[in-house]
């Protein structure tokens, strides 16, 4: 490509570069094992993961919309009351976990430990509540093969529960490290990322509840 306009000046002059340390080979290095990207990269990663999870839930919802319109066999059912308690528990756990994230930034680690532990317990309580809800539904004869409404309910709530279990694993790992006083303002990436994903699961759950209360 001839001419003054070359690829080197398409994007403009390079930005001001801070003192960039040279060296550091790719891959593993015995003295300084490569650990991966920065906090910003981790946040990008969790945003990307949320997009993927959103696509999964959108697929389920679109299948639900199609399926409901196909036939006259859709039977609305009453949600167990415990689901409302679970919703409250999840919202409170989100608030608590976010408070914990904020206090860690200010290096209040003892308070962080209390808040994070409370959040983890609430998360486990949510899971226990879900199991109870499924048990109650089955006792009423509403199992996955009973009809499309209950089938979608189980698929959506099971998928959400799997995501919650996936989110609880780092929450519990953080709990383990926090109790050993290994976290702090400079070591909080996993806390930030876990909190973001936990809030996301909160939103997904509110969406599922909204779907079954107001539409399905």
């Amino acid at each position: 490509m001839a001419g003054a306009l070359t690829q080197s000046n398409i994007g403009g002059p390079p930005p001001d570069i801070p003192n960039f340390p040279a060296g550091g080979g790719g891959g593993e290095d015995r003295d300084r094992p490569y650990r991966g990207g920065s906090r910003q990269a981790s946040i990008t990663g969790i945003i990307v993961l949320m997009c993927a999870s959103t696509m999964t839930f959108i697929s389920f919802v679109s299948a639900m919309v199609v399926r409901r319109g196909l036939n006259t066999d859709w039977r609305h059912f009453q949600l167990p009351h415990i689901l409302w308690w679970n919703t409250g528990i999840l919202i409170v756990s989100s608030i608590v976990i976010d408070c914990a994230r904020r206090v860690l930034v200010r290096n209040r680690r003892r308070l962080f430990n209390w808040l994070w532990s409370f959040g983890a317990v609430l998360g486990l309580a949510f899971l226990a509540g879900q199991i109870l809800a499924w048990t109650q539904l089955e006792a009423r004869g509403l199992y996955v093969g009973k009809g499309p409404a209950s089938a979608f309910f189980y698929v959506l709530t099971w998928s959400h529960a799997v995501h919650v279990i996936g989110a609880l694993l780092p929450v519990l790992y953080i709990e383990f490290r926090a109790l050993r006083w290994e976290l702090g303002p400079g070591r909080r990436t996993l806390v930030v990322v876990s909190a973001i994903f936990w809030h996301f699961l909160d939103v997904i759950w509110l969406g599922i509840m909204g779907l079954f209360v107001f539409w399905a």
Binding site: Q7, S38, A41, T56, F57, N71, A151, W181
Partner: protein, 580 residues
Amino acid sequence: METRALSRRMRVPRPRAIVRAVFSTDHPAIARQYFFLSLAAVVFGVLLSLLMRFHVVHPTAQVGWFERLWPVKAIGGVMTPELYLSLLTLHGTVMIFFVLTLAPVNAFGNLVLPAQLGAEGFAFPRLNMASFWITLLSFGILIASFTAAEGGPLAGWTAYPPLSAVGAISGPGEGLGQTLWFVSIALFCAASLLTSINFIATIVDMRAPGMMLMRMPLTCWTWFVTAILMLLSFPVLMAAVILILSDRLGGSSFFVPAGLLVGDLDIPHSGGSPLLWQHLFWFFGHPEVYIAILPGMGIVSAVLSNFSRKPVFSYRGMVYASVSIAFLGLVVWGHHMFTSGINPYSAIAFSVLSMSIGVPSAVKTFNWIATAWGGTFELTTAMLFALGFVSVFVTGGLSGLFLGQPTIDAYFHDTYFVVAHFHLIMGIAALFGIFAATFYWFPLLFSGRMLNETLGKAHFYLTFVFAYATFFPMHFAGFAGNPRRYADFTSFDFLQPLLPLHRWITHSAYVLAAVQLIFFWNLFWSIRRGRQASENPWRATTLEWSRRRGIVVRGPYEYRQKGGERDYIMQDEPDAGATV
């Protein structure tokens, strides 16, 4: 204020060297793992295809070891139609997932992407490692599905319900075999998601200073849009697989309609829609084929530029074309369903959008030609495969324009015309991209060695000739109305005149497969004894060939530099050097 001191880190003994080597987080090592997995998969896939082609021309042949391997589906050593369909299912699954998704994206992306960006490594090295092992587990479960008691699934790689949703009643292999197949696919989806997260985060956040988006090599751009496609399409397949597993194991009826009879048996499902599966599957399925081809396009751009000693023609146009192809690829899934009874108005919409993909594809094709035009050719094997890619991309892509029209597709759907189209595009073009990448980046893959160029050229010319000889005649079979996925043509009068054509295709396929042994010989010999490469054997401009680790100061394809001692200048070369 917190005064408690940090506790001592628990001392964990360092894993043994062999464990660190096997479960490596080093991205070139992971790349090699993916490369060999793809290699094993392609060998398996090719063997399956040869068995299929053998059966097409010898449908009643008795082969003793058939019965030993498949006692239920090859009684008396004769391949049953059910076994043919199982071979077909596994062939498609293995090739599309474990060869055409793994090799261009995972193997070469892992090898080269961080280096081309000037990054130290990937954003999430442990996630990268986990992704490989989940993929390997997925492959193992797929093989297990094939070797399950009554044989592998026979619903095709598309696994359409109700055949794939009602269980063992619908055929041998449809019980445990089909369930394991779905589990394998779900694991593959999870592994691919981890890969896409890693790629996107690395490209967005870990580029070297000065590596602006519009200075990234085109390979990085194609891996970027491919990762986005993976991110948006694999979760939909995962959702569909969860729903169909619920139908199979939980008694739900997402995809199975009422009143279904299999043999004399009334299937106890009601209210579902097989079309719902098709929508969900093809929403994934069409982006999947772009996932297979886009990285190859990036590689071809890089190789054509390098070996023409010219910059890529219209770098910005190539970027926009790649992004357009990826975006349009997400909205055209209905062209796989023209004959499924969808609303004809939606078919028009899908048709127009499908044919509009021809525009950015043509932009890329003309840009490749313009890149090579007037260049100083160096006909290395990588360059030959890149030129071959352009050829086959045109021939294979043109038949896609026919198939993208509902009225024409009404005739061609489920005929060998479709088989010809996707084998030219995926079986040859995408594979040529993989071969070009292998020859080009072999020094980075295996300790600075080079593949043998003489063997490489022999492999290319023979593959080019016999690939066209195998797959091009399938167009004519399609014109004549030859259906696909039929195990036996001898029962149909209108197909008898096509039997000589099928014999030609089969014999050509045997030779094509045999020719690949040249590549395998070259590969395994060169790993140990290949000529040592210099630091930058192809005199390339991109960062994977640089040890400087400096700041990026120019675009990726600054060839044709005049006046200096070299005709190229690397992206991070601090001296401005000679300019055009």
